[in-house]
Amino acid sequence: MAQTSMSAPARPVVLFVDDERNILEGFRDAFRREPCEVITALSAADALKLLETRHIDVVVSDECMPKLSGSEFLAIVHERYPGVIRIMLTGEASLSAATRAINDGLYRFLSKPIEPDELRRVVHDALRIKSATEASVRARLAQGI
């Protein structure tokens, strides 16, 4: 576990998007000990509002949602916030949605139900890649300067 980052002032932020509140509550409980901040949104529209207002590192989204679907939402995220790592977590996705999501550079495509350990590991890996990427970018920028 990344014990060191726990005390860091800026904890990475993970956004869970699902139209089922019970799911979001479950994830909150599952990530209560993780070294990251968990925020949730009940719809893609709410999630986009959150993305506008604050920094988010990883987005985990359901596919089947009213109005904007998960794959549509993640496509927008990819376009507007290319640095955000995107994970799809769906109960039953159509092949076309999965194909589109993967073609858009999705990090992981996960199926419900998923065990909390597995989900935590995936999110943890995503965060490590994110920080490593950002570190190398910073290093390159530093070398460039």
């Binding site: 089922e20 019970n22 799911i23 509550e25 479950g26 994830f27 409980d29 599952a30 209560r32 000990r33 529209a45 359901d62 089947c64 949602m65 009213p66 109005k67 904007l68 679907s69 769906t90 109960g91 039953e92 199926s111 419900k112 139900p113 998923i114 065990e115 909390p116």
Partner: protein, 654 residues
């Protein structure tokens, strides 16, 4: 006979010429024979006249002789006596003349001979009388009487002869007339024979082509149309023969065309896949095609001639005829009633769709009935298969939705349980620490460090979070489990195992179950509003009604998805109510409505406006089949462009 003096003659000309010739011949025969008869008649008359004249002269001589002789006696003149004798002499001369006549007959001849004797006696008696007179100066009685007797005999003979000759003359005349008559008769006969011979000859020549025509006509009547004109002359008969030959050729061609058509029609009739039976007006089958024999299990000769009623299961011929006649007035064929049935030879009933129409003659008179029946067994079987396939399609579609629903619920239920497990572990380790503290408290080893240790342990366990969240997690888990239970129960109600018999069903519960299992189909595009009215139990096949409702709900969801602006939800309203003897289920959507142009096709099997993978065009077709055909209900819709559509299912109660 073709040309006379180089002139081409028509039949009329030939006949005129022929009759002219016959007339001329007969006229000349007549003229000639008349003349001949006239000549003969004159000769005979002349001969008779001569004989008569001699006889008359004889008679006159006899009279005057007798008178002169008598006068002499009275007057005593000598001269008169001489004259009397001379007359007698002369008389004899005339008599001999008469004897010399060629046509004198035997009896006349005898009379003339007798007359000669009478004359001789008269001469003797006259001389004697004269001698007596001269001797005695008077006539004595006996000599006068002898003279008178001799004169009388002479006179009688003369008159007899005269009469005979006159009679004979008359008889001769009559014989001559008779002969003349015979001759005329013979001439007439000869003329008639000549006329007949001429007429026959000409008649045979004229009628020979007519006979040929007659024979040809008989052959044509017997069906042999191989007649050709020989064309030997150019008259009317020849034209007639040519016309007749053309007519025969035309008939031959027409017959060939007709035979061809007949054969084509027979082929078409035989190859029709549908059962076709043709009936006479009294209800007997007059024709049946191969499909009819196949469907009904009879041979053709077993069907033809038998009453149609023997193979009619439900309807009767008389009723069909009446319907057809009624239908014929507007020129349409009739479909008599629902589900007519035919009877197979082995007694099995065959469901058919029956179309009947009147058979008409060319003149438009009714000549029977045409029944066209389509065997619906295969149709019914395919319908059942289609329903089954559509049910599988629906279940497949639902399965993915239900899987999603169960997966989602399982996700948070398992999250909760994992949370409870972890929290329990934390709480148990905290309790261990409390128990250790409690033991220390008992042994009096409790130090302020112990309290700090417990505080740290509580923090480690995140106790306030657990206190706040554990009950919620357990509630969520229970809610999730009951949701899964509800879904599974609804699935069971929805999928209602196929029963053979209809059963009383709580329609509201059935509809609710359907909406539950189908929720994944609409919940992302529409809100659901339900309004369940009071309904008695409805006897039906619940599984099939559910399938129909599901199809309508899925259509409603699709209609809304197609119409709603992106990111907006529509409304599906499901209401049930009782309307008199019917239970009504109404399913409304706020979609775009059904375009007028396709409203009459939406119930057609495989008609769809949806892209591949979203629908196969069987939903409404199956819904209608289930509701209308299996439940004798009604399925109707009202649609307004841009406003939405309401489908209404009506099921009969009881």
């Amino acid at each position: 006979m073709r040309r006379v003096f180089g002139v081409r003659l028509k039949l009329r000309g030939k006949l005129v010429l022929t009759f002219l010739a016959v007339g001329l011949v007969l006229t000349s025969i007549n003229v000639w024979s008349t003349r001949w008869l006239q000549q003969r008649g004159e000769i005979v008359v002349a001969q008779h006249n001569e004989t008569d004249r001699i006889a008359d002269r004889l008679a006159a001589m006899a009279t005057t002789t007798a008178e002169q002789g008598f006068g002499y006696v009275l007057s005593g003149k000598r001269a008169e006596k001489e004259a009397c004798l001379a007359k007698l002499e002369k008389f004899d001369v005339v008599r001999r003349q008469l004897l010399a006549q060629s046509d004198i007959r035997d009896e006349e001849y005898a009379v003339l001979l007798g007359l000669g004797q009478s004359l001789q006696r008269a001469q003797v008696d006259a001389r004697h009388m004269f001698e007596v007179y001269e001797l005695h100066g008077h006539v004595d009685g006996p000599s006068f009487e002898a003279y008178e007797a001799a004169m009388d005999g002479l006179s009688d003979g003369v008159y007899q002869l005269s009469d005979d000759i006159r009679l004979r003359s008359t008889a001769d005349n009559e014989a001559a007339r008779k002969r003349e008559g015979h001759a005329l008769l013979a001439i007439a006969l000869a003329a008639a024979v000549l006329g007949v011979a001429l007429g026959t000859g000409i008649g045979i020549r004229v009628t020979r082509p007519l006979f040929r025509l007659r024979d040809a006509a008989i052959r044509v009547g017997e069906g042999d149309f191989n007649f050709t004109s020989e064309g030997r002359s150019d008259d009317e008969l020849d034209e007639l023969a040519q016309a007749f030959a053309e007519m025969a050729a035309s008939i031959r061609r027409l017959l060939a065309v007709e035979a061809d058509q007949k054969s084509r029609l027979a082929n078409i009739f035989a190859s029709l896949g549908e059962t076709v039976l043709v009936c006479s007006p009294d209800g007997r089958i007059t024709a049946a095609n191969g499909a009819a024999c196949m469907t009904l299990g009879y041979r053709e000769d077993e069907l033809v001639g038998n009453p149609l009623d023997t193979i009619l299961g439900t309807a009767r011929f008389a009723a069909l005829l009446t319907r057809a006649e009624r239908g014929a007035s507007d020129g349409t064929s009739m479909n008599p009633g629902q589900d007519p049935q035919l009877l197979h030879k082995d007694g099995k009933q065959i469901a058919v769709s029956l179309s009947i129409s009147l058979l008409r003659t060319a003149a438009g008179e009714a000549a029977g009935l045409i029944c066209v029946a389509r065997d619906l067994s295969e149709h019914r079987r395919l319908e059942a298969e289609l329903r089954q396939a559509q049910k599988l399609e629906a279940i497949g579609r639902l399965a993915s939705g239900i899987a999603h629903e169960i997966n989602t619920t399982t996700q948070f239920v398992s999250d909760c349980i994992y949370f409870v497990r972890d929290a329990t572990r934390d709480l148990l380790s905290l309790i261990e620490k409390y128990q250790a503290a409690q033991a220390g408290f008992s042994s009096g080893e409790l130090t302020p460090d112990t309290l700090a240790l417990l505080n740290a342990a509580e923090q480690e366990a995140d106790l306030p979070y657990l206190v706040a969240r554990l009950p919620m997690a357990i509630e969520r888990a229970l809610a999730g489990l009951s949701r899964i239970t509800a879904i599974v129960r609804s699935m069971k109600v929805f999928a209602h195992p196929d029963q053979r018999q209809m059963e009383p069903v709580d329609l509201n519960q059935a509809v609710q179950s359907t909406l539950t299992v189908a929720s994944n189909e609409y919940k992302y595009v529409a809100e659901l509003e339900t309004e369940f009215g009071e309904l008695p139990q409805v006897t039906c096949h619940a599984g099939e009604i559910n399938q129909a409702v599901l199809n309508l709900v899925i259509n409603a969801a699709h209609a809304i998805a197609d119409h709603a602006k992106h990111g907006e939800k529509g409304l599906i309203r499901v209401r049930t109510r009782r309307d008199g003897d019917s239970a009504v289920i109404a399913i409304s959507d706020t979609g775009g409505g059904i375009p007028d142009s396709i409203q009459d096709r939406v119930f057609d099997p495989f008609f769809t406006t949806k892209e591949v993978g979203r629908g196969t065009g069987q939903g409404l077709s199956v819904a209608r089949s289930v509701i209308v055909e299996k439940h004798r209900g009604q399925l109707s819709f009202e649609s307004q462009r841009g406003q939405g559509t309401t489908f209404e299912i009506r099921l009969p109660l009881g």
